[in-house]
Symmetry: D2
Subunit: 309 residues, 4 copies
Amino acid sequence: MALNKTLRPGLIQLRVLDLDKTLSFYKDILGLNEVGRTADGRVMLKGYDEFDHHSVTLRLADSAGFDSAAFKVDSHETLEQIRSAAQAFGYAVDEVPPNTDQPGFGKRYGFKLCTGHRLEVYCDVEPARQRPMIKNPDLWGDEPPRGMRVQRLDHFLLFGPGISEAERFCTEVLGMFVPEICNTPDGKRLATWITSSNKPHDLAFVEYPEPGKIHHIGFFLQDWNDVGAAADLIGKNRLKLDIGPTRHAITRGMTIYFWEPSGNRIETYAGGYTAYPDNPQRVWDTDSLGRGLFYYSGELIDSFLQIVT
Amino acid sequence: MALNKTLRPGLIQLRVLDLDKTLSFYKDILGLNEVGRTADGRVMLKGYDEFDHHSVTLRLADSAGFDSAAFKVDSHETLEQIRSAAQAFGYAVDEVPPNTDQPGFGKRYGFKLCTGHRLEVYCDVEPARQRPMIKNPDLWGDEPPRGMRVQRLDHFLLFGPGISEAERFCTEVLGMFVPEICNTPDGKRLATWITSSNKPHDLAFVEYPEPGKIHHIGFFLQDWNDVGAAADLIGKNRLKLDIGPTRHAITRGMTIYFWEPSGNRIETYAGGYTAYPDNPQRVWDTDSLGRGLFYYSGELIDSFLQIVT
Amino acid sequence: MALNKTLRPGLIQLRVLDLDKTLSFYKDILGLNEVGRTADGRVMLKGYDEFDHHSVTLRLADSAGFDSAAFKVDSHETLEQIRSAAQAFGYAVDEVPPNTDQPGFGKRYGFKLCTGHRLEVYCDVEPARQRPMIKNPDLWGDEPPRGMRVQRLDHFLLFGPGISEAERFCTEVLGMFVPEICNTPDGKRLATWITSSNKPHDLAFVEYPEPGKIHHIGFFLQDWNDVGAAADLIGKNRLKLDIGPTRHAITRGMTIYFWEPSGNRIETYAGGYTAYPDNPQRVWDTDSLGRGLFYYSGELIDSFLQIVT
Amino acid sequence: MALNKTLRPGLIQLRVLDLDKTLSFYKDILGLNEVGRTADGRVMLKGYDEFDHHSVTLRLADSAGFDSAAFKVDSHETLEQIRSAAQAFGYAVDEVPPNTDQPGFGKRYGFKLCTGHRLEVYCDVEPARQRPMIKNPDLWGDEPPRGMRVQRLDHFLLFGPGISEAERFCTEVLGMFVPEICNTPDGKRLATWITSSNKPHDLAFVEYPEPGKIHHIGFFLQDWNDVGAAADLIGKNRLKLDIGPTRHAITRGMTIYFWEPSGNRIETYAGGYTAYPDNPQRVWDTDSLGRGLFYYSGELIDSFLQIVT
C-alpha cells in the first residue's frame, strides 16, 4: 500500500485542571463529541469526522500538559517492526495491553523520547459508535458539527531537549519524513515538522531545555472561513487568544492559537500544502522564523515562544 | 517511508484542437505556467506549486482527449517492482527512454489498461526551473498566481470498459487504495475512486463501453473561495460551464466542471476529506449517485454523464 | 437624514401548506427565531440580527404564496406623505389599526399594486424581545445563529402584470430608486430591481400575466462561505434545489435558490454591490438575462422562470 | 429619494513621502487604478468599482497624512443647503471652483472642523474613463481586479480635538447618523462612527489632543476571503502590519490594518452590518473598547492607539 506503516497521530492524552469547565470547551466550543469516561474518570472525545474509538483523552491533574500521544500504524507486522527498530535505536519499549487505560484500543507499544515525551504506536482500535457515514454518505451524520466544527485531531507540537534525535527517531523508527526544518545559525536543529503522509505535519518539535512540554494541539478545520468562524467563537466566549487568525508560511496553514480553560494551547488549523517525500525539504533560518510562523506580521511574539504546558 | 511506492499523478498529456486558443486558457485563465515546447511542438505546462519539470502536456490533434498519464513513484526499486507486477498481472510493459517525448522525465514504463488508457510510471524527473521556494519560502515565488490560481494537477477521471480490472491493477500493481466506490444494483462496479495517499482520489474510473475516454482533469484550488473566484472567471470569459460551483458528497470536494476551448472537461477542485487506507470504504448505490456527485441538487445531469473526450 | 423616507422591507406574510413541517424549516434550517403566534394561529418569525418585533409571518392556507409585504418608513410624516402620494397615484389606500393582525406593529397603510400584490407601509413597530446587542455588543447575543445563519429578511421578487407601473409607484410614491432593469427588445420592462438604500434591491418585479405571484423571498447571509454552508444544509436535509450556489451579475449577489417544504422559493443571498442613486442604471437586454441571472452558466433554466407561488 | 442628501465619502487627498514607491503600492498591491496626474504632479487614483473621476489623490510632501476629504451629495440644492447649514453652525465656508485642484470635480464647498480636518462637499463630478460596466455588466470590465482587489474607498478615521462637535456637524449639517459611539466613564465622547447610508461608517472620529490627524483610510473588499488574500500580499510584499486579519465588534467589519510605504495606515475592510437610522445606537464603554475594536483578542495595542499621520 502506498500509504502505510505509520499512518497518523490517533490519540493524545492531556492533563487538565478543571474537568467540567474544560470539557465544556472541548465539546460545546471546539465541537468534539464525548465518547465516554474511563473507570478512573478520564474523558474520551473524538472529532465528528474520525472513525476510531476516540482521539483525545482528558485527565484531571494538578497541572495542564501532555501525558502521551499514540500513532496508528497499518498492521501488526509494522507494530512489531517499530518495536524492534525502537529497541535497536536504543529506546526501552513497554507494552500496554489492549483495552486497559484507553478503552477501545488494542495493544500499544510505548517509548520515551529524549525530549521527555511518551509516544506510542498501535494498530488495533475499535470503531467509534458515532462514525462518519460510509453508505451513501452525507458530509456528516445525524448530528451536525457544533461550535468550531473541528473535524479531527491534526497534529501537536512538542517542546523538549534533543529534537534532532527525536526527529531521527520519527524518520528511522516510525518511517516518517520531514518536510520542513528550522536551523540555528550554527546549524543546530531549532524546530522540525514531521509527517507520515500528505499532511505537512503530524507532529513537530522545538528545541527547549525543559523536557516533556507541549506547545499546542492542532485540530483540523475545513478552511479559512471556518478559521474566521472559530475566531468569532473565541471572541464570543472570551477565550484567551494567543495569535491569529493568521497564516504560517511554514506548512502554509491558516490558523488561530488560543488557550482552553486549563491553559493548554489549542490550534484551529486549516489548509497546508500537500506534502510529498520527494519534494525538497523547506529550510528556515532562525532570523526568518518570525515570517515563517506568522507570515502576515513577520514577527515572533513572546507568549507564543515562552508559554508551554 | 510511510508515504511511498506510487506517489501521485505527475503528468498527463491531452489532445487539443486549437493550440493557441487552448493554451491561452491554460495559462491566462487556469493559471498554469508554460515550461516550454517539445521539438514536435507540444506545449509543457505546470502549476505554480509543483516542483517537477512539467505536469501537463498539450498536443495538437484532430480530436480532444487523453493520450496518457504517468505516476511518479518513489524509487527505481519501486519502478522495477511495478514493471514486474504489471507483467505478472498480464499486461505488456513498454519502456520509454529518458528525455525523449517528455523532456525532463527519466525512464518511464507504460501499460495499456483494459479500459483503453495508457498509464505510465517513472521515478526520475528534473526539477522545474520555476519551483516553489524552499529557503525561507513565501507562499509563492517571484510571480504571483494568476487567473484561477490552480496549484497543481490533482486527479483525472477516465471512462472505459472493465474498470474492476483497472481498479485491481491500481491496487495490486501500483499499490493504491480505493476510498470510495459505486456499484450497480447487481453488484458490478460502476465507478471507483483510487488514491495513493491522503488525497481522496488520484484517479477515478467510470464503466463505459467506449475505451480510452477521459471525463475530466482536476486541478487543485486552495478552497471554496477560490472555487467561487474561478467561477467568476468562467463567467467573465464565457467558458462553457457543465455544473457548479457545487460539492461532491463523494470525496467531499468543492468543485466546478467546465470545458476548455478544445472541449476537454476541466475540474477546479478544492477540499476533500483526508483519506486513510484503514478507514472503511465508502459505498454508493447507483440510485444515490446523483446525491453523491452533486450533493446540493442530488440530481445527475445528462451532459455530465454523456460528454467525454 | 441622508437615509430616510422608505427604509426597508420589514415584514412579509407568506402562505404555507404544512405549518409544522414548514416552520421546522424556517427555524431549524433557515435559522429564524420564532417570536410567537397570533390569536388565529399564524406564526411570527425574525432573523437573529433584526431589531423589530418580527419580519416574517406564516399563515396556514390551501396554497403557498404571498399575502402581503410591508415597508418600514422613517416617520409618521412620511407615512402620511406616502398615503397622500399613493392616492394621488390613483391607488386606494386602506388603514390597518395598530396591533391587530400583526402584533407589535403600529398603524399600516395598504395598497394593491396593479401587479396584484398588497404592499403596506408603517413607521411604528415594537422592539423584538430578542434583539441584537447594543451595549458593548457581541456579534450575536445569548443564542448563536442556527442552521443557515440567515441574518435578516433581505428582499423579495414579485411576478405580475404591469411592472412598469409598479416600478413607478415604488419610485414616485415610496421614493425608492432602480439600480438595475431588464427590457424586452421592443423596450418594454421585463424586470426591475428596486431599492431604498445601498442594498442593490429591496424588492424586484418580473412582468408576468398572472397577478399576485411571488418568485422568491431573499434572506441575507454573511458571505460566499455561508452560501456554501447553506448549500451543505440543503443537501443534508434533502431540500429541493432550484439553482446554485451561483452568482448573479445582476446585483452581483452570491446565491442559492431552493424551495421550502410548502413550495415557496427561498433565496439565501450574500454580497451585492453598494447601490447609490447617482450611479448609472445598469441595463440588461433580454437575451443577456441568462448571464445576468446566472453569471456562471449564462443560461436560464425553466424551473426558475416558470415556478412561482 | 430614500437615499439622499449626503451620499458618501467620494474623495480623499493624502500626503505621501515617496511618490513612486507609494504609488506602486496603491496600484500594484492595493489594486487602485491610476487615473492621471494633476498639473502640479499629484496622482489621481480610483477603485475598479467606482464610477466617478477619481477617489484618492496623493500629494508628495514632507510628512504623510491627511489633506482633505470630500463628500458627494445628491444635488445642487443639497449643496447650497449644506453651505447655509454649515454657516449657521458657525463654520466658515469657502468655495473651490470646478476643475481646479481636483480635475473632474465640480464646485466644492469646504469647511474646517474643530478637529482640524478640512471636509468638503460637491455634487458634480465627471464620470471616470474606466467605469464599472452598466450595459449587460460583468462583475468587472476589461481589466480584472489586481492585487488586493479593493473595490472602492470606504471610510476614514480622523483623530482630533472636539469630536462631539464634529459628530454634531456631521448629523446636523451633513444629515448623517451615528450607528455606534464610545464614551469615557465620565460620559464624554471618545469615538464616534458616522454614516450617511447602510454602511456602518463613512467616517469616524477619535478624540485626540492634536488636530488634523488621520488614523487610517479604509478600502472595501468583497469578504473575509479577500481579507485573507490581502494578508497573503502583505506577507509577500513585507508590508508593515499593524493588526489583523481580525474582526471588529464595532461595525462587525473584517479587517487588516497595515502601513503603506509613506506611513499612512491602510485598512482593508469587508463586511459590516447593514446600518439603519431607526436601529438603536450601539454604545461602547471605554473599558470594552479593546473587545470592540479587536473582537478576537479583546485587547488594545499601543501602535493602533498611538500612531497617526
